[in-house]
């Protein structure tokens, strides 16, 4: 007597049987709470509002890749979806950050917001380069398959000491990625870096995305290649293996590392980079490159009070609050022109 398989038994005429592995993948949900630190894992949605040109669409996809794995890579948005729809969906899914691209008056803007009530930081993208462009510009573009399995490390530079909008911006960027415990983190999972640098004179933020490569220091190139490729080298012209191993090769330009770029590893990263040995850290740029300027900060999600630039009260420029340094006044004056256009257009957009 033949018993039907459990898959078939359960389906009862609902269609073809789905293999168990596929089912598991479909039902797998990204965890909400980090197992290691116990904190909540921040998830994000990257989407666009309004009509945007195709290059901006590529940029949107690149940004989604940056935020992997805790983002929806294939998020589909329809024209009739409102921000409210996204908000409603984000609750049950545990999505905490929104990144909204828009193109009011042909100027690309990026809004970074925190759900559900969080502040919104509006940036104007002054210049950007897509990941494909960067790969084309490199001689050996590098994108190993596993680097998007873990969140990037976020490094901020130049943000301190500039007062209010940047204080909260620091917090925002820091909490955009899940927390990492340096004592327990597996070094092999740190494969990407997101670098945000604030340039004080120009008042812009540089957004860069790199992949990390570790190379053991003190190992000659030949031996390294041998270990990496696992292929037997060509020893035709040599009399002895020692010739191969000890041949003095030309050092590559990048071999001249300053001490600062080498680290002594805590644990084994992979076969080549072993614990307590020195490794050089090599960064290779992948992903989009952006130059953005902070234009507006709102206290609600694309709504609420405008906190930055400081609302002009009558004719007074507000230096009442001691926190705001010259910085804010400068930017308020300087960017107010572009701001007016930008913000007005955006408000129209939202309606």
């Amino acid at each position: 007597m033949r018993h039907p398989k459990s898959g078939g038994r359960g389906r009862r005429g609902r269609g073809p049987r789905i293999p168990a592995a596929v089912l598991r993948k479909q039902q797998a949900v990204a965890p909400s709470v980090d197992q290691v630190t116990g904190a909540k894992i921040p998830k994000s949605f990257v989407f666009s509002r309004g009509k945007i040109p195709s290059t901006l669409r590529h940029l949107q996809q690149d940004l989604r890749k940056v935020m992997l794995p805790y983002t929806a890579l294939n998020l589909k948005e329809k024209k009739r979806n409102n921000l409210k729809d996204f908000l409603n969906v984000s609750g049950p899914l545990g999505v905490t950050h929104f990144m909204i691209l828009s193109n009011p008056k042909s100027l690309p803007h990026l809004r970074m917001a925190k759900t559900p009530q969080g502040p919104t930081y509006t940036f104007q993208i002054e210049a950007y380069a897509l990941a494909a462009d960067i790969a084309n510009s490199q001689k050996r573009p590098r994108c190993p398959p596993g680097i998007f399995k873990n969140s990037p490390l976020v490094v901020l530079s130049g943000f301190t000491g500039h007062g209010e909008p940047f204080k909260s911006l620091i917090q925002y960027f820091q909490y955009m990625v899940p927390a990492i415990d340096p004592n327990t983190v597996k070094l092999a999972t740190c494969q990407r870096v997101l670098l945000l640098k604030y340039d004080k004179e120009k008042g812009v933020i540089d957004f860069r995305h790199y992949s990390i490569k570790l190379q053991p220091v003190g190992v000659s190139r030949r031996i390294r290649k041998l270990m990496q490729n696992n292929q037997v080298p060509d020893l035709r012209d040599l009399k002895d293996v020692s010739d191969y191993v000890t041949k003095a090769g030309y050092g590559s330009e990048s071999e001249v590392d300053d001490e600062a770029a080498t680290v002594s590893l805590v644990s084994d990263v992979d076969k080549l980079n072993r614990a307590s040995r020195k490794s050089a850290v090599r960064l290779q740029e992948i992903g989009p490159r952006m130059t953005m300027r902070l234009v507006k900060v709102e206290s609600g999600l694309c709504s609420g009070d405008v906190l930055y630039p400081e609302p002009v009260k009558g004719k007074q420029t507000d230096e009442e609050t001691g926190e705001e340094a010259d910085e804010s006044a400068e930017s308020a004056d300087g960017s107010e022109d572009e701001l007016e256009d930008g913000s007005e257009d955006e408000m129209e957009d939202e309606e």
């Binding site: 925190k114 490094v155 917090q171 001490e259 770029a261 926190e323």
Partner: protein, 388 residues
Amino acid sequence: MGRKPAAAAAADHESFPATMPADLLAAADCGGVHGHSLFFDALVQLIPPRFYLQADDEDRPWYQGLSKAAKAAMKAQSRANIKAARRARLDPSAPPSSTLDLLKKSVADQAAEEEEDEKNSEGESEKSGDEASSDDEEDGEMEEDEDGEDEEEGMQVAPASVVSEDRSVTYEELRERLHRRIAELRGNRCTRPEFLNKPKKEKGKKAKGKNAKGKDEGKKRKRADGAEDDGKDGKKAKKEAEEKPDIMYANVFVDPKEARRRKKRRVKNKKKELEQAKRMQEAKKDPEKANKIAWDTARRRAAGEKVHDDPKLIKESLKKDQKRQQKHAAQWKDRQKTVDKQRQEKQKTRTENIRERAHQKKMRKIEKRDKKLMRPGFEGRKDGYVNE
């Protein structure tokens, strides 16, 4: 080994090889007494000596009454006897043990015995007892209650020595064989203990090394990175960076102080939260503080903390809680009602059934009583008088 040269010598004069019954029968055709004798010899040859010849049973002790040690000894002896008998049966140089030969031997022995019986009978009985006991266990007969004392002794000694010798030989031999085999097998395996133990130790050390080094390495790394684009991340976010270029990393670990501070801000009771929010709103009216408060909440929200500053939302949440509680209360009442109803129904049916049963009992009794009165010509019990 129990070979009895004397016995062999004694039976020598009759030791033509054990003749097959067929041969004897063939030879019985010669006729006369000799022929008859040969015929009977042939018949005797067909019978196994075990059944034909009388064995001394009386001297054998009652097996079940023996002690454990004695039983073991008897068993060992019988086993040895069996072995010896098997060997003797198949041994070409052994004295013949066919029925006829044994019969002849016994006849000869009896004659010898009768002579010795007059001399001393006690010793013999014991010895013959021994031999007899071993006899009965055998398949083939190793006839041991014959010949002379020395033979008996030899035989007595022989089985004992056979047994002990056999045992010692076999045990030692087996042990030696076992050791040889073990050494053989061991030769193929790795017997150096260093090689067996090392990997485990290494693993343990590695793990410990990792943990111990984690903190040190972290510190080293912090000092080492001065360059701006250093990818490895290290510490908790500190506002006052130690190096000149201020680098900050994504938040790595919750400072216990921060955690405690955050927890303090959390108010458990929603009503209290409402009041706090209202107070906040009042405070916001003050323009100086409003900005500060706004930035503060923005910062906390950006950091992932939930700030409840809108009293409207808190009121909604309170209302939701109330509604939920009411709904649950209504459901509970409903459940209670159904339970009561069911209980009542069950009780009703039960009382009904009881009453019915009692009633039925009465009716049955009446019927039974009235059955007797259903005579032909009568209609049963009647109330009142007959002529009404």
